[in-house]
Subunit: 375 residues, 2 copies
């Protein structure tokens, strides 16, 4: 059984991959909960079987919706009709850098050329209402990064994103979608996406048919950063989505580059702010290559395996009073799971089980750094 | 006798000040040579008396021109007719920060309000062909620095300089001239200079009547930096005079600030380059105040005296073979004077005398860091 913590890349059977898809498509199961469930129960199938009981014990009003085999099969079929296939985390075609992030999607759908996902990638993001100069600079740097054998990742948005994709249609570019593979946003970029797929790829973690909502874009942005060695931000206003991408890139330990601009141009407030915070200043492609070149070298020198995760002890049923003690220790302020184990005095596997129950009941959120909070 | 190495501020007699003016106006005497001469011979008057002999022994083809008492008096009179007075280094009205630089002018002429020179100063420099946005930003930051009780120093040039002066006419601004006080460049800024003098000042180290040449501008730029706690560079092309000011500011240990701009705008190549080299990025006045505020605090806490210079031993006449040995050790590559003393085996005062001979003969140049080179 391959699970998210396993080393190397092993292809799943179709039936295993369907289980993975079912589990991540089930209610209250996000990437972090998925990882916890699979680690705790030893696979997606046993986790699926435990979901109803976990929800009930976690105090859910009604049992959470579990994705059925038929639903998952319908999604796989619908996706395959437009040429999209599913890849699970840990499979050989899953993008190597993305696999390393804390909340990597357990399953992604991919259209286009898988080999584009094997290349070293750089994200280029920026304003939707880019200036002519900004769009021109995005084209220039994207083209030159493409010529330096980088695949350029972006979000298919208007402005900077589109300029970066268009400049790298021939060298390869990856569009990360905020909705399903059949729900392209903005709609006028459907033809552009078609051109992207010739040498590049489109990636989504969202279900087929999912119409992207505002909150899906920040979620998507973590994938742009996660795929990339670094992210170049070109024109970004204050509080813009591009700054979210930059923040996520920093959290993921990726390089952040920003292009300077006039203090009088609101489109440059965000990028100038990033520079004040220590982002690398970029006025030419070499500024990016100078930082990423050495990193590329180090990555090539690393063995091709991931750090192994510690195996969980076998799941243990919590006693009623243990469950209450653990729940009482939780609140809206995020707390580290290790701290929770220490303070509750309960065995780690018991704490993890209670947390899973609460998660599946929709009452708990996992946050970066192994912290959890009651919702 | 007050000389450049003395502590505190003591007013010279008119006659002493005239000697200082004569010495710095004499051929082959620059600020560093002036300092060496006065330190070596104990004053400007004895130094003037030794000039002809020094030139002859240094191997000058013809004796260098020495500024006569009459010439110096004529300059003082002409200057006073337009309200300019001379201040010698070490006198109470001489700007405190400027006094500290290696090649501080021994005498400056000042028009306007001396009290402006007592304030903490910030230089603002940039392109002559500034963009509208650049000029607007210069006005804004200059006005706000003025409101924060800084006097703004600049070079009276077109573009950024003029915008910075105009925005600080009421709070006080200092124009540093590349030519004499009666040779304003560009000529159309004569009315602007008039407005500057109401609350501010104009400074020059050049003789009355001196028409500024291209090479006088970099020389002038060291005074802009030298007067200031830090220099803000707004729009600067590659190889521009503003970058020279920034480099000199760094050499003088002053802060360098730069305003970011589009990589596609050649007027921002220099400023973006400064940012890559570590200049503080400025998008608002607070970025400058945040750095200069603490420095101001430290300066206020310092005692009001300069570090004392070691007194020279009495001048000694070099023997012929000593002079030859020292000259042989010199070449076009700058060498430290201490090194020269070590290698020649001669007494320090002998080495200094030989160097002064060569300088006065126009055969030697003093460089920063106590180094000398044969011309």
């Amino acid at each position: 059984m391959t699970h998210p913590g396993s080393a190397g890349g092993v292809k799943l059977t179709d039936s295993q991959r369907l289980d993975w898809l079912r589990l991540i498509r089930s209610e209250n199961v996000g990437p972090r909960t998925f990882r916890a469930l699979v680690n705790h129960y030893g696979g997606a199938r046993p986790a699926l079987e435990r979901l109803p009981e976990l929800a009930r014990r976690g105090g859910a009003q009604s049992p959470g919706r579990i994705c059925s085999v038929e639903e998952a099969e319908r999604e796989v079929e619908a996706a395959s009709r437009i040429g999209a296939v599913f890849i699970a985390l840990g499979e050989p075609d899953y993008p190597a850098r993305l696999r390393m992030i804390d909340d990597a999607p357990p399953v992604i759908s991919v259209r286009g050329r898988f080999d584009a996902l094997k290349s070293a990638m750089v994200g280029i993001v920026g304003s939707r209402n880019a200036s002519a100069a900004g769009a021109k600079f995005a084209s220039q740097i994207a083209r030159e990064l493409g010529e330096a054998d980088f695949v350029v990742v972006s979000g298919l948005a208007r402005g900077i994103d589109a300029a970066a994709h268009r400049a790298t249609l021939e060298t390869g570019t990856v569009a990360v979608l905020a909705g399903g593979q059949d729900r392209i946003y903005p709609p006028e970029h459907v033809p552009l996406l078609g051109e992207i797929l010739a040498q590049g790829a489109a990636i989504s973690e969202m279900p087929f048919g999912w119409e992207p909502r505002a909150r899906d874009f920040p979620r998507r942005n973590r994938l742009i950063a996660g795929l990339s060695l670094g992210v170049v931000v070109i024109e970004a206003a204050r509080r813009s989505g591009s700054l979210i991408t930059a923040r996520l890139a920093l959290e993921q330990g990726r390089e952040v580059f920003a292009v300077p601009g006039s203090p009088l141009d609101p489109r440059c407030e965000g990028t100038n702010g990033l520079l004040k915070q220590g982002a690398t200043l970029v006025t030419e492609t070499n500024d990016v290559l100078a930082v990423l070149g050495p990193i590329l070298g180090r990555i090539a020198a690393l063995p091709a395996s991931e750090p192994s995760h510690e195996a969980d002890e076998p799941p243990t049923e919590p006693a009623l009073n243990e469950r209450r003690r653990i729940v009482d220790l939780l609140g809206p302020t995020p707390v580290e799971i290790d701290e929770l184990i220490r303070q509750s005095g309960a065995r780690p596997s018991v704490v993890r089980t209670v947390l899973l129950e609460l998660e599946i009941a929709g009452r708990l959120e996992r946050q970066p750094g192994g912290r959890v909070a009651l919702l």
